[in-house]
Every structure is written in structure tokens, then in C-alpha cells.
């Protein structure tokens, strides 16, 4: 690849710059990968050094500390308590008590079962007195995995807190040796609304994210390495267990999985459509939304508020109503086909295959998405359009630029500059746009060749709706859903990385005075 000097680079047209950046990104990938591994190596080394330093520090604290410090190693918060820092001391002590209590009564069991994910599945017995079969449940792989992970989280938190406790003792030692004054409970509380106010503010949101987002994601990543599915649900039939990388092999093997098509081919097909859909959905909405906004914004157009209000209805009305209704409207037996058909206007003799023909369905989905999406874009762009300095247009007019030229030279670059990040999030959002596809078509029409692999795959299925079908479909292959979910993450991450690497550079070089 040709390397440009800075000066040469500045001479290039915008498009060329973009291409150059784009290619440069990919050319840099091998080195980036190499760097990645080098950095990992460095990171490990750093980590080891850090851990060693920590241990040395802990050791020194123990050796140099007084008896109170030494007791603190076992009874957390003892140092704080004896030095009058009641609040901190009580918190440490309480945490330790809860931790020990938890580990003895439940945590130990979950942890011990984690390697096997359970030993005894449900048993069936015949009860002669009542002439009936009874089922008794034993280990639950799902809970073992869930609470096992939670227990590990807890242990990590405990180690961290214990380390904090030791650090505190060291600080107390140092301050008391110098004869300084320790912070009391009152100071601690005050700092929570002042210097450490951020801790107060973040405590609740971050706990929520940890439990309801991080934990589930960690869990689901782990599921990708088990055989958890409908036939191994871990409780009411067979237990599930670890299977290593088998599931990734299944997804990436080119071997036919039945129905004449392999998982990887099915995955590739759906991924392709997902990307096409995300691209079209994002850019049709973007340009048409901008166009509508410009029309309404144009000087001399009256009733601006009314037009906006009408359009905004699709944002206001819950999607499950508008999309489900539209989906039924376009159905074979729906309003449109009936109205145009022999018993209505008689324009068509055969119902139009809106949801039955792959191409029709894909086009209809995109058109309906325009209906749903334009108003949002219109709102966003209206504000930005009004922020474009009017004198830019004035001077362009004096130079004799027509409307199209003004759009090309002023409006579009300005918009792209401001909305660049938004376009990216909107693209990845559309990749995962479950609602529109699920409520409109449910993935239909069925793609027979791909369906042999997993679930009933349709031509309008996105990866996200496929994932949903895998989990709720005939075989409930949760493990496969996890693998697909991880792949969705990889795809989104790669796209974001590429765009982020290309985008800021464009930003910096744009020059608006």
C-alpha cells in the first residue's frame, strides 16, 4: 500500500482520504494483532510484578504493624474500630461476617459443584399406593452455574475488600506514627456528598448493571461451553455439563447439519442479510429523514408544527400496535390484498405476496421501517439543520450555487460531521433491531435450505431474531444461541472498531469556521 506523507495526504480529495484511511486500517491489522499479543505478554508481566508488589506490601504491613494490624488480617476492620473509625470498621466486619456465613451455608456447595455442574439428575419412581409415577428433583445445573459464578464474583469482591482492609491498616499505622489525625465517621459521610459524591451516585446504577447485565452476560458466555439445551435443561431432565469448544466447532464446521446446509452456511446467509438490512435501514432513514426535515424547514412552508406532529405519531404510538397492525394489513388475508382483490377494487386477481416472497418481504420490511424510522431522524436533523450558520448559505448563493450544490457542499458534510457517531450507533442498533423484524414478519418467509440447521430460519431473519428462534425453537439450543450471541458481539465490535478508526480522522480534518 502506498504511503502518503502529510502534505500529500492533505492534497487528496475527501473521498480519497476516506479510502486511504479505510485501507490503512486494514493494512494495519496484522501489526495490530501482533501488538495485541505483545501487549498481552507485557500485560501479564506487569500483572505478575504488580501481584508480587502487593504481596510484598501485605507482608511488610504485617511485619511492621502493631498487634491491632495483625488482628485485622483475620478480623477485618479491627484496626479501624480500635482507632475510632467506627463506620469503616463496622462495614468491614459486617462484610466479612456475611461472606463467611454465605460461604459456609451455600457458597461452598455451588463452588464444589461448578466443575461438574451437578451429579444427580431427576429420578422417577413408581408409587404403588397411588398407582402413579413421581418425579424427584436433585441437582440443578443451571443454578450451579449461576450461583457458582456469583460466588466467584463474591470471592473476588472479598479479596479486594480484604486487601483494602490491609491497606487501611497501613495508612492508619503511618498516620498515627506521624501523630496525625484520622478521619472520623462524620468525615467519611460528608465526603460521600462531596469529594466522593460520585461513589454515592454510582453505587446503585453500577450494582444494578453488575447483577442484571454483567452477571447474565458472563453466564451466557459460559453457556457457550456447555451442552445446555432443551434435552439437557439441567433440572427437569438431564443435567448439562462442560463440552469445551464443541459448540464453536459446530457453528464453524462446513459439514452439513441436515437439510443440506451447514450451520456456518446458514450463519453466513443470515449475517449477510443482517448487514444489508442494517445498511439499507440506516441510510434510507437517514437521507429520507433529512430530506423531509429540509422540506418542512424550508422558508415559506406553513404549518411546520402540524407536519412534524403527524410524522411523529409513529414515534409516539407503541411499536407493537403499529407494527403488528401493519403486518396484518400486508398479510395475504389483510386489508390491502382484500381491498385490491376481486371482492374489492378488483385490481389484482392474486394476492400480492408481501410476506410470502423473499424479495417482496425484504423490500416491504425496509419500507415499513422507513415509516417507523423517518420521524426520529427528522427530529434529530431538524435541530442540526437550524444550527448550520445561515451565512454559509448566503455566501454560497452569492457564488451562484444551486440547491443541490448547497446541499452537497454545505448541508451534507455538516450533517455527516455532526451525526457520524449517531450513524454508527444507529447501524449497530439496526443490526439488532429485533422489534421491526419480529413484529412484522417473524422472519418469514421460511428459507427451506437454511432451516435444516437450526430452528425455522426465514429470509428476513436477522442474527438477533435467529438467536431468539434458537432459544425458543423446537430444540431450545441455548448453547448455540450463546455462540451466535458471541458472534454478534464480535461482528458489532469489529464494525465499531473500523468505523471509530476511520471516523475521528475525518472529524479532525473537517474545517468549519
Amino acid at each position: 500500500m502506498k504511503q502518503y506523507s502529510d502534505l500529500e495526504f492533505l492534497r487528496l480529495s475527501k473521498w480519497q482520504r476516506f479510502c486511504y484511511k479505510f485501507l490503512a486500517f486494514f493494512a494495519a491489522i496484522p501489526r495490530a494483532i501482533a501488538n495485541f499479543f505483545i501487549n498481552i505478554g507485557k500485560g501479564i508481566k506487569k500483572c505478575c510484578l504488580r501481584v508480587a508488589a502487593e504481596f510484598r506490601d501485605i507482608g511488610q504491613t504485617f511485619v511492621n504493624g502493631d498487634w491491632k494490624t495483625k488482628v485485622s488480617f483475620l478480623v477485618m476492620g479491627f484496626g479501624n474500630l480500635t482507632h475510632g473509625q467506627i463506620l469503616r470498621g463496622v462495614m468491614f466486619l459486617l462484610f466479612e461476617a456475611v461472606f463467611i456465613f454465605y460461604m459456609i451455608f451455600t457458597g461452598g456447595y455451588w463452588l464444589s459443584m461448578l466443575p461438574s455442574l451437578g451429579k444427580q439428575g431427576p429420578t422417577n419412581d413408581y408409587d404403588a399406593i397411588y398407582d402413579s409415577y413421581t418425579t424427584h428433583y436433585h441437582d440443578n445445573s443451571f443454578k450451579i452455574l449461576l450461583y457458582g459464578v456469583l460466588t466467584i464474583f463474591f470471592i473476588v469482591a472479598f479479596i479486594y475488600t480484604w486487601r483494602m482492609n490491609v491497606k487501611q491498616c497501613k495508612i492508619i499505622d503511618q498516620i498515627t506514627k506521624k501523630g496525625g489525625k484520622l478521619k472520623g465517621s462524620r468525615d467519611d459521610l460528608r465526603s460521600l456528598v462531596d469529594e466522593s459524591f460520585y461513589k454515592t451516585l454510582l453505587a446503585l446504577p453500577l450494582t444494578g448493571i453488575l447483577v442484571f447485565t454483567v452477571l447474565p452476560i458472563v453466564f451466557m458466555i459460559l453457556v457457550a461451553f456447555t451442552n445446555y439445551d432443551g434435552a439437557h435443561n439441567g433440572f427437569s431432565n438431564n443435567l448439562f455439563t462442560w463440552v469445551g469448544l464443541d459448540n464453536f466447532n459446530t457453528l464453524f464446521s462446513w459439514q452439513s447439519a441436515g437439510g443440506g446446509q451447514s450451520y456456518s452456511a446458514t450463519f453466513g446467509e443470515i449475517l449477510t442479510w443482517t448487514l444489508i438490512w442494517a445498511f439499507l435501514a440506516t441510510f434510507t432513514n437517514y437521507f429520507l429523514g433529512m430530506f423531509v426535515a429540509m422540506m418542512i424547514n424550508k422558508k415559506g412552508i406553513r404549518l411546520k408544527k402540524m407536519w412534524r406532529t403527524i410524522l411523529v405519531l409513529t414515534v409516539a404510538i407503541p411499536q407493537f400496535i403499529s407494527l403488528l397492525y401493519v403486518s396484518k394489513m400486508f398479510a395475504r388475508n389483510g386489508l390491502i390484498n382484500l381491498a385490491l382483490g376481486p371482492q374489492g377494487l378488483g385490481w389484482i386477481s392474486q394476492p400480492l405476496p408481501f410476506w410470502e416472497d423473499p424479495t417482496w418481504a425484504r423490500v416491504t420490511v425496509i419500507l415499513v421501517n422507513v415509516w417507523i424510522g423517518i420521524p426520529y431522524l427528522m427530529l434529530i436533523t431538524t435541530g442540526i439543520l437550524m444550527n448550520i450558520p445561515a451565512d454559509l448559505y448566503e455566501s454560497a448563493k452569492i457564488d451562484g450555487a444551486n440547491a443541490w450544490q448547497q446541499y452537497r457542499k454545505i448541508t451534507l458534510p455538516y450533517m455527516l460531521f455532526i451525526t457520524g457517531p449517531y450513524l454508527l450507533t444507529s447501524f449497530t442498533g439496526n443490526m439488532n433491531n429485533f422489534n421491526v423484524i419480529y413484529l412484522l414478519t417473524g422472519g418469514a418467509p421460511t428459507n427451506p435450505a437454511a432451516s435444516g440447521a437450526a430452528g425455522s430460519v426465514g429470509y428476513t431473519d436477522l442474527l438477533i431474531t435467529w438467536l431468539f428462534k434458537i432459544t425458543t425453537g423446537a430444540e431450545s439450543q441455548y448453547y448455540l444461541a450463546s455462540v451466535v450471541g458471541i458472534m454478534v458481539f464480535v461482528v458489532v465490535a469489529v464494525i465499531s472498531l473500523v468505523v471509530y478508526n476511520v471516523l475521528p480522522s475525518i472529524k479532525n480534518e473537517e474545517d468549519y469556521q
Binding site: 409513529t314 407493537f320 435541530g383
Partner: protein, 291 residues
């Protein structure tokens, strides 16, 4: 003289062209408005149809009546509506608090973990949320918050993970000058005082925007709500309950009832939205783009 004439001619030409293009724009706008309104007008009209309950090829009912609304009243719809309303109200309060805490902090404070934290959440956000459905169900089920108790369960999950959606309001807070805070700090105000005395009054649009979106979200929540409330009508929200009316075995009996339900759900939400539209626009333009 001649020059003046020229400009006035050009002016008139521009005016004429302007009028022409404005005319074209009006035609387009009317066309667009019609397309946008058609489905909604149809829903309303069909909700008053009495003579048949399935899909037909005409829009204006042959026989008008409130039968579909009476059917709604006699079904579990009341319960679903109440459930949804409770969830919407609760999340309007709780989600707003969480998101404002999160966005304000990340916009105003510079602490050691801020960068890693934001990067970490960006990465977390790239995982499809669908994946976590199964596990969240189990967590709720262990807490006893599923099926008939789905309402508190949905509220809990809704607000607990809402911290991830801080981007829009953070973008807005970023636009409020930090010199205001610093001035107040110099005057001896604590961070807490700065927040509720100075920032919050200025952030009114984004607060209302957050409340509005948090309130509207639950009205359309289908997949997870269904997964949590499965098989227990008392725990359904409107989307879950009404979805089944359009499945193949019920659509021929319930189609017009669905339309009636759609009207009842959409009208209050839409009116609320239109009233607060101004703030919504400020929110999306102030936050979404810069965020």
C-alpha cells in the same frame, strides 16, 4: 436602472421558482402525511366495526358500535392495562433517577476508573440483550418475581440495567458549562448542592425527556415481558396480552378487538408524547447526537 430591473426580474424569477417548489413540497408533504396517518385512521375506524370481527377489504364500518370496546372491558385487558401503567410509572421514576445519576457523574466527575468504566460499558452494550433473557428469568424466578408477580420483576430488571443507557443525557450534561459548577464550588457548595441547586434546573429538558422515554418504553415491551409472565394472564402487560389476539387461532375472532385495544393504549401515550414533544426534540438533538 437596468441593473435594478435585472435584479427585480431575477427576484421575481426566484419567487416564482420558490412558489413552484413550495407547491411541490406541499404536495409531497400531504402525500407523506396521508401515508403516515392511514394505518392509524384505519385502526380507529375498524375498532368501531360491529358486523364482523376478522379482516375485511373495506375500512369504513357498515355498522358502527362499541361492541369491541365492550369485549375489551370484559376481557383481562383491564388488568394488563393496569400492569403496564404501573410498570411505566415506576420505571419513569426509577429509570430517570438511575440514568441521571449515571450520566451526571460521568459528565462531571473525573475519577480514576471513569475511562475504563465507560469503555467497559461500551463493550457490554455490544452483546445482544436477548441473550440474557433466560438467565434474568431464572434470577427473577428465584426472587419469586415471575408469572403473577411479573410486574415488580419487570420493574426491577427495567431499572436495574438502565444505567447502560446514559449516553443521551450525558451528552446533554456535557453541554452545560462546567464553569457554573466551579463557581459554586468556590462559594463553598458541596457537590450535592451543586447538583440540585444549579444543574437540575438547567437540565429540565433532559429530565423530562428521560421520564418520557422511560414511561413510553414499557408500553411496547413484548419479548421479555412474555418470557417473565409466561402462561399467567394476571402478569401480562398489554403487548403480551394483545399479541395473542393476532395469532392464527384467534385473529378471526379478535381482530377488531385488537384495534379497539390499540386505540385505548395509543391515545393516552400519544397525547402525553405530543404535549411533551418539545422536550423530546431537545433531548434527542441535545443528547443523542453529541453523546
Amino acid at each position: 436602472m437596468s441593473k435594478n430591473e435585472n435584479t427585480s426580474k431575477r427576484h421575481m424569477g426566484i419567487k416564482a421558482a420558490n412558489r413552484l417548489s413550495n407547491g411541490a413540497i406541499y404536495v409531497l408533504l400531504i402525500l407523506i402525511s396521508v401515508i403516515w396517518l392511514i394505518p392509524f385512521v384505519f385502526i380507529v375506524l375498524q375498532s368501531f366495526r360491529v358486523e364482523s370481527t376478522y379482516q375485511v377489504g373495506y375500512v369504513v364500518p357498515h355498522q358502527w358500535g362499541l361492541q369491541n370496546y365492550i369485549n375489551l372491558w370484559n376481557s383481562d385487558f383491564k388488568r394488563w392495562y393496569l400492569n403496564t401503567f404501573i410498570i411505566a410509572l415506576a420505571s419513569a421514576v426509577l429509570v430517570t433517577i438511575i440514568q441521571l445519576c449515571m450520566s451526571y457523574t460521568l459528565s462531571r466527575f473525573r475519577f480514576k476508573m471513569r475511562g475504563p468504566l465507560m469503555r467497559f460499558m461500551l463493550i457490554l452494550g455490544m452483546f445482544p440483550g436477548m441473550l440474557t433473557m433466560i438467565i434474568l428469568y431464572r434470577v427473577l424466578s428465584d426472587l419469586g418475581l415471575t408469572q403473577a408477580n411479573a410486574v415488580p420483576g419487570l420493574i426491577l430488571v427495567g431499572f436495574a440495567s438502565s444505567g447502560m443507557g446514559y449516553y443521551v443525557s450525558k451528552g446533554f450534561f456535557d453541554t452545560i458549562s462546567r464553569s457554573l459548577d466551579e463557581a459554586a464550588r468556590v462559594d463553598g457548595a458541596t457537590r450535592l448542592q451543586v447538583l440540585y441547586k444549579i444543574i437540575l434546573p438547567l437540565a429540565k429538558p433532559i429530565v423530562i425527556y428521560t421520564i418520557l422515554t422511560a414511561f413510553m418504553g414499557p408500553w411496547g415491551d413484548y419479548v421479555f415481558a412474555r418470557y417473565v409472565a409466561f402462561g399467567t394472564s394476571a402478569g401480562y402487560n398489554v403487548a403480551v396480552g394483545m399479541y395473542s389476539w393476532l395469532t392464527n387461532d384467534q385473529i378471526n375472532r379478535m381482530y377488531t378487538t385488537f384495534c379497539a385495544g390499540g386505540v385505548i393504549v395509543a391515545v393516552p401515550v400519544t397525547i402525553l408524547f405530543l404535549c411533551l414533544q418539545k422536550y423530546y426534540v431537545e433531548g434527542v438533538t441535545g443528547g443523542a447526537v453529541k453523546g
